[in-house]
């Protein structure tokens, strides 16, 4: 069985992180293919439901990335996301899911390199944690 390849779903905010990911692209910075990116207008749009749904639907890890504090295009979306994800992580622990599977990062439009590093790191970390296996009682 070849090595475990974690499946990551990434929610990137359009103005900073998505632009950062694009910059990584234009700069040809390579990073693993495990992540599939969903574009949302602001990290504040991401509901805990999306994260839980992602884990349920087989994502081994969920990456949420927004603008740095003070740089959000809509002023305070990233603060709201930060609060929701912190609460969610506590809750995940209760449900027996390793909170490290959910990661909240700040990547600005000019941090192409950093985005790639975050993805690479997250993949390595998930490899250590291993695949997610949620027994969903019907």
């Amino acid at each position: 069985m070849d090595e475990f390849e974690p499946n990551i779903i990434g929610f990137l905010c359009n103005w900073c992180s998505y632009a950062g990911a694009d910059l990584a692209g234009t700069s040809r910075i390579q990073y693993p293919t495990n992540i599939k990116i969903i574009r949302v207008m602001c990290s504040g749009r991401i509901e805990p439901v999306f994260i839980l749904e992602s884990l349920k639907k087989g994502a081994d890890g969920v990456l949420i990335s927004g603008c740095h504090f003070g740089e959000c295009h809509y002023k305070s979306g990233n603060y709201k996301a930060n609060r929701r994800i912190k609460l969610l992580k506590k809750y995940l622990k209760e449900m027996g899911v390793d909170p490290n599977r959910v990661r909240f990062e700040f990547v600005s439009a000019s941090e192409g390199h950093r985005f790639a590093d975050v993805v690479r790191e997250f993949v390595e970390e998930l490899k250590k944690i291993g695949p997610i296996s949620l027994q969903i009682t019907p």
């Binding site: 949302v40 504040g44 639907k57 002023k75």
Partner: protein, 587 residues
């Protein structure tokens, strides 16, 4: 009102005014020295004595003090008065023979030299300094002492005063300039001058000032952190001098609300402060100055009217060092684009002023990329200006050498110099971070404002309707700045010319049947675009959330906050995202 005649001219003035004020009001000049419009008249210099005929008896009094009286006839320059004034000036010249100002005064009155015994005083005892200190500054550090020929003006016990605020008011009104040198004698406290920002701190300025003579609008401002009136509730000299009564101390900050269609940000740059780079010795040696300071020194309207002097001597060998604060791997990595050319220009200016001086320029790569730049660079090289190349990471050190300095550059012989000009680069303005937050635009890594796209939208920002021009976007010279400004202008007109604008459709939408007015979305909205309203629904009144479509920017935070999905972000509904999640879940 009081009617009187001065030199035969009828004049009517308010009671309580003095003859001098009445004369000035009809354009008759009377010489004065110890008179100061903002101080009580003192009558020390006697220059303003005039002849007063008060129904028959002739009197001679100082016009700065004598109150106007009904029907008096005043003659301001009879032969006897003029002769007397000449003697007054001759006496002053005898008292202060070395004072330039008194020599000028003497010339004005046709007094060649004095027939009286010359003393070597530098103070004419006009009392202006004592009076301004007491009456305007409310301190009273110095005052007259003794009487008769022993008369002098000194702080108590003729030693340093403990209450002198070192505000320099006495120095500013001293007609002979005597008091200017004595500030140190008045107090042990260090005088700290108010440095003119426009002149890069090379000259002093008043708390009420215009930055430079050609300022537009030519209206001064009062710097309230430095003005004695605001700090100590004293002085008010400026309002006394202002004929137009335009000075309003109680004026308050005014908040102006503007409806604006589009914005151009042209906030410019700051020049790099090399103090931190101790190797250059800036701030330590007076011989080391920045490019901008050099510009002020060589400028005709500058503090030294274009005359370049270091430690009181014209410099003979000058060294320019390029790339100070630019192209620095662990600092500002970008190139400031203008330093190579302005250094060449400055070197050329020095060659003009001091034809036989030695000029050396330490460069790395001369970037003469613009139109006419290369030609200018060649011309400058032809003017016996030595260009020495050094690598950016080669060491360079400026060390003291008597009252000159020595520039030690790796790979080059030491060069003695009495002036070192650092070609300081351009850095983002200190307040650019704050402005970016206010305007909600982004900063690039180097701290300048981030353009939407370096090639395709160089003057746009990510926020529609806000455009960039000039060095606030990145260092550039004047031609590029002007070009960018015009392009930003056209981008603005592009918007303003349209009657209407389309805005993003992906805004929030409320399904009023589901909304139970919990208000979570109202708090979540960063733009206060949602409010709870009372509506009639199926016969009964209820509260629901309502979105102000003009204000909603479509960030979707409200949708995430809503518990039962009553409010949705069009284009990014929960359903749509969940379907993508499902697709991405299966591997």
């Amino acid at each position: 009102m009081v009617k009187l005649s001065i030199n035969g001219q009828e004049v009517e003035v308010k009671e309580g005014q003095t003859i001098l004020e009445a004369a000035n009001s009809i354009g008759i000049e009377i010489p004065t020295l110890c008179y100061h419009k903002a101080l009580s008249p003192y009558g020390a210099c006697r220059l303003c004595v005039v002849e007063i005929n008060h129904n028959g008896n002739i009197m001679y009094h100082t016009s700065c003090q004598f109150p106007v009286m009904e029907g008096i006839e005043v003659q301001t320059n009879t032969e006897r008065v003029l002769k007397g004034r000449k003697i007054m000036v001759e006496l002053m010249l005898a008292r202060c023979p070395e004072s330039e100002k008194i020599q000028e005064l003497a010339e004005q009155f046709g007094v060649k030299e004095t027939r009286f015994k010359k003393k070597d005083e530098d103070c004419i005892l006009c009392g202006l300094c004592a009076r301004i200190c007491q009456e305007r500054m409310g301190v009273g550090t110095i005052d007259f002492i003794n009487r008769g020929i022993e008369r002098d003006i000194k702080p108590p016990f003729e030693t340093h005063s403990e209450i002198c605020r070192v505000c320099g008011a006495c120095a500013s009104v001293c007609p002979t300039g005597a008091r200017t040198l004595e500030l140190k004698e008045l107090s042990l406290r260090e005088p700290n001058p108010i440095l003119s920002e426009f002149n890069e701190g090379l000259a002093k300025r008043h708390p009420i000032y215009i930055p430079f003579p050609q300022s537009v609008p030519k209206i001064p401002v009062i710097d309230r952190e430095k003005c004695i009136h605001f700090l100590l509730d004293e002085c008010e000299t400026c309002s006394i001098f202002c004929e137009a009564e335009a000075i309003k101390y109680d004026q308050e900050d005014e908040i102006i609300e503007l409806d604006i269609g589009a914005i151009v940000v042209a906030s410019g740059f700051d020049s790099f402060d090399p103090t931190a780079e101790t190797k250059y010795g800036y701030g330590e040696f007076p011989n080391v100055i920045t490019g901008m300071e050099f510009e002020r020194l060589v400028s005709a309207s500058g503090p030294t009217e274009g005359h370049i002097e270091v430690n009181g001597k014209e410099p003979t060998n000058i060294v320019f060092i390029q790339c100070v604060g630019s192209r620095d791997k662990d600092g500002n990595e970008y190139c400031s684009r203008v330093c190579c050319m302005y250094t060449a220009k400055q070197a050329h200016m020095v060659r003009d002023k001091f034809p036989d001086s030695e000029l050396t320029i330490y460069f790395t790569d001369v970037r003469a990329f613009g139109k006419g730049f290369e030609e200018f660079y060649n011309r400058v090289q032809g003017e016996n200006i030595i260009y020495l190349r050094r690598e950016l990471d080669d060491t360079i050190q400026v060390v003291q050498n008597g009252n000159g300095v020595v520039v030690k550059a790796e790979g080059h012989p030491d060069i003695e110099a009495d002036l070192v000009v650092l070609a300081t680069g351009l850095i983002p303005r200190e307040d650019s971070k704050e402005l970016a937050q206010t305007l909600n635009i982004n900063l690039s890594a180097d701290g300048f404002f981030l353009e939407a796209h370096p090639k395709l939208r160089p003057v746009d920002t990510f926020t529609d309707g806000i455009f960039l021009a000039g060095s606030c976007q990145s260092p550039k010279d004047i031609p590029d700045t002007v070009a960018q400004a015009s392009s930003a202008a056209s981008r603005v007109c592009n918007i303003l010319s349209q009657k209407e604008l389309e805005i993003e459709a992906t805004i929030a939408y409320v399904d009023e049947t589901l909304c139970r007015a919990c208000g979570f979305c109202v708090d979540a909205c960063p733009y206060q675009a949602i409010e709870l309203v009372r509506i009639q629904y199926l016969g009964h009144t209820t509260d629901v959330a309502r979105v102000n479509e003009a204000l909603c920017k479509g960030c979707g935070t409200c949708a995430a906050a809503c518990l039962n999905g009553a409010i949705r972000q069009l284009g990014y509904t929960d359903g749509q995202i969940l379907t993508i999640i499902k697709a991405f879940g299966e591997n």
